[in-house]
């Protein structure tokens, strides 16, 4: 009886023990399941297509080219490998430019009429490119469907535009978001690092126990404050400050985000680095002092090199925190999805993009899948960060065993 009872308990324990593993696997499964849906699909809006004149030699266009054509950055077919014809844009509404109302009478109900009219327009204009509903695609001899390159890893990572609701083709270029994330996070770490290390060294080596007993809870509290509060503070205080100091049109910039992120990453850096510094055996420090080294010489020649792997771990963990942070960044960076040129421009990070756009994206749409793909990227980055940290701290424990 007792045996069975114990076996049951052990079973329950085992089940719980594997929950985290299961969760990670589930996260991977669900993120990638949704995220993978983005690839291999045409980026045009569902139910729509792009057509040209039958005699046009162009068969295939990339999303970039289509976007440039419809943004009227490309005016001639020869720029995309076709004949020397200027490009004529055609959208459904444009039908009324070609025909009078009488000619189009009854078009709302008569599908065939619409189809034939569109076909006629396409036939008449050699340089036309038409963005039309796929139902209206005529089996007509005069028009030809343009094959649009599907979204691939190349265009996803290399694409310089993130414009998921653009027509006729959505732009899913992660590059600006990636850059935004890296700029903001790295600058945040650059700001946080000197303060974090200085405070860690100060707390571990210099401060009297009294000062430390004040600093320690302060740092803990700093770690406990919700990110949205930091975001709020940034919005109310830091944003106007940055705007004034640099005389900018808006204060929501990458720099603002970096400052807030720096404050938020500090507790992680300080705590981990302080632990690492405290991990230096007292006897080693005493040996240095006993040789006539000053306290400062001991710190920078002995303690810091000894704790270097722990400090590295602290920095990487801090970067991980900064990269994954969502709300505060969302509130203060301005969220412009363009490749940044200066840190004083508005920027948009990957987590902020997800948070801002997921609410608007219809489930199952390309946009929705694209946001999950962003989630995948985030997940992979943090996974790499974590594995690196564990590798470093693993090495550290091995060193200590010696």
């Amino acid at each position: 009886m007792k045996k069975i009872f114990e076996k049951v308990i052990e079973g329950i324990l085992m089940l719980s023990g594997t929950v985290t593993t299961l969760t990670v696997l589930l996260i991977i499964f669900f993120l990638f399941k949704e995220g993978i849906g983005l690839f291999g699909k045409s980026p045009t809006e569902e139910g729509f297509t792009v057509a040209v004149n039958r005699e046009n030699p162009v068969n295939e266009l990339s999303t970039d080219q289509i976007k440039n054509i419809f943004d009227q950055n490309i005016h001639n077919w020869n720029e995309v490998g076709g004949n020397n014809d200027s490009i004529i844009l055609f959208r459904m509404d444009d039908l009324f430019n070609y025909y009078t109302e009488e000619e189009l009478a009854g078009i709302d109900t008569n599908m065939n009429l619409l189809t034939s009219k569109i076909d006629e327009v396409i036939d008449k204009n050699k340089g036309i490119i038409a963005f039309i509903s796929s139902k209206e695609i005529p089996q007509n001899p005069n028009s030809k469907l343009i094959h649009i390159k599907a979204i691939g890893l190349g265009s996803f990572f290399g694409g310089k535009e993130w414009f998921p609701t653009a027509q006729p083709v959505a732009q899913f270029g992660v590059y600006p978001l990636l850059m935004g994330t890296l700029w903001v996070s790295l600058l945040a770490i650059l700001i946080a690092l000197p303060f974090g290390l200085a405070t860690a060294v100060y707390m571990a080596e210099i401060a009297s126990p009294g000062v430390r007993s004040v600093l320690k809870p302060v740092i803990e509290l700093l770690a406990g404050i919700p990110s949205v509060v930091y975001g709020f503070f940034g919005l109310i205080v830091v944003v106007p400050l940055v705007q004034q100091i640099f005389a900018l049109p808006v204060g929501e910039t990458g720099l603002t985000g970096s400052i807030i992120l720096a404050i938020m990453a500090l507790p992680t850096i300080i705590t981990v680095a302080e632990d690492a510094i405290r991990g230096t055996p007292r006897s080693v420090k005493e040996a240095s002092l006993a040789l006539g080294a000053s306290q400062w010489q001991t710190i920078y020649r002995i303690t810091i090199p000894y704790a270097s792997s722990g400090i590295t771990a602290a920095v990487i963990l801090g970067i991980g925190r900064a990269i994954g942070e969502t709300m505060a960044v969302l509130m203060v960076t301005g969220n412009a999805a363009v490749v940044p040129h200066s840190i004083l421009e508005p920027m948009r990070t990957i987590p902020a993009t997800i948070a801002a756009e997921l609410g608007e994206a219809a489930k199952g749409s390309l946009h929705y899948d694209a946001l999950f793909a962003l989630g995948c990227i985030l997940f992979i980055i943090t996974m790499i960060v974590n594995l690196t940290v564990q590798m470093i701290s693993g090495k550290r424990t091995r060193n200590k065993l010696r």
Partner: protein, 248 residues
């Protein structure tokens, strides 16, 4: 000449050393023995002011090293520690090469002449009877050699800054018997040049290596005499009880 005069030491309100006066003979080995917590390590650490690092320590009386009270105001502690070398319980080499471990004390004390450093490192390693074992591996990490070698490296490191006094806090307690006897032989050699104070839990070790022995109990110096006397006919009953193992 090193000497303690009416030395009292407090950790907060706890009195760890109680009115200790003791003249340590020069160029000889003096062992400090006594049960755990008797204050012998604390006493040892007053000579290079290592106790300063512990918060809440208060010291009264005088500790004289080279005719100067080290607890006087304005004493340059770094300089004092340079003159008073210290070897610790466990071998604690720095995470540097063997060479850099020995050179460390010189570098932090402002020596930049690489030739001089090289020469001093070699001499110190020879004095510590380690040179022959490591001369081909000076660039190797100090962690790559055995514990006994590491401890001799730590001794070489202490010798490199040319101290007059050498404090040893249980220098062989973490070592195997063979390494221990090597360290003991080394101590025997070193006393020709240095005044050595050694704290040890191991009474036999104190008996073997020292010329004089001081027995501490509950923060007081109970008896201080030639080692032979302490181990053959001590004056105080407490000393007798301790050295015969009939303690408590």
């Amino acid at each position: 000449m090193i000497e303690a005069k009416n030395l009292n030491l407090f950790y907060g309100t706890f009195q760890a050393l109680n009115d200790i006066s003791m003249k340590v003979p020069e160029k000889s080995v003096t062992a400090l023995i006594g049960p755990s917590g008797c204050g012998k390590s604390t006493f040892l650490r007053t000579f290079n002011r290592m106790n300063d690092l512990i918060p809440g320590v208060k010291i009264e009386g005088e500790v004289i090293v080279d005719d100067m009270n080290v607890y006087e105001k304005g004493v340059d502690v770094d300089n004092l520690r340079k003159r008073v070398g210290m070897v610790f319980q466990k071998p604690n080499p720095f995470a540097k090469s063997i060479f850099e471990n020995v050179a460390y004390g010189l570098r932090v004390n402002g020596v930049n002449d690489e030739k001089l450093i090289k020469q001093t490192v070699e001499e110190s390693l020879k004095q510590a009877a380690l040179w022959d074992e490591v001369k081909d591996n000076l660039k190797k990490s100090a962690y790559a050699i055995s514990g006994g070698q590491q401890q001799r490296l730590c001794i070489a490191r202490a010798l490199a800054v040319e101290p007059t006094v050498l404090l040893m806090d249980e220098p062989a307690s973490a070592l195997d018997p063979i390494s221990t006897s090597k360290i003991e032989e080394l101590i025997h050699e070193l006393k020709k040049k240095y005044t050595i104070l050694i704290v040890t839990h191991n009474m036999q070790q104190a008996a073997r290596v020292s010329d004089h022995t001081a027995f501490f109990y509950m923060g007081s110096l109970v008896e201080f005499d030639e080692t032979k006397t302490i181990f053959t006919h001590p004056v105080k009953q407490q000393t007798q009880n301790y050295v015969t193992g009939r303690f408590g």
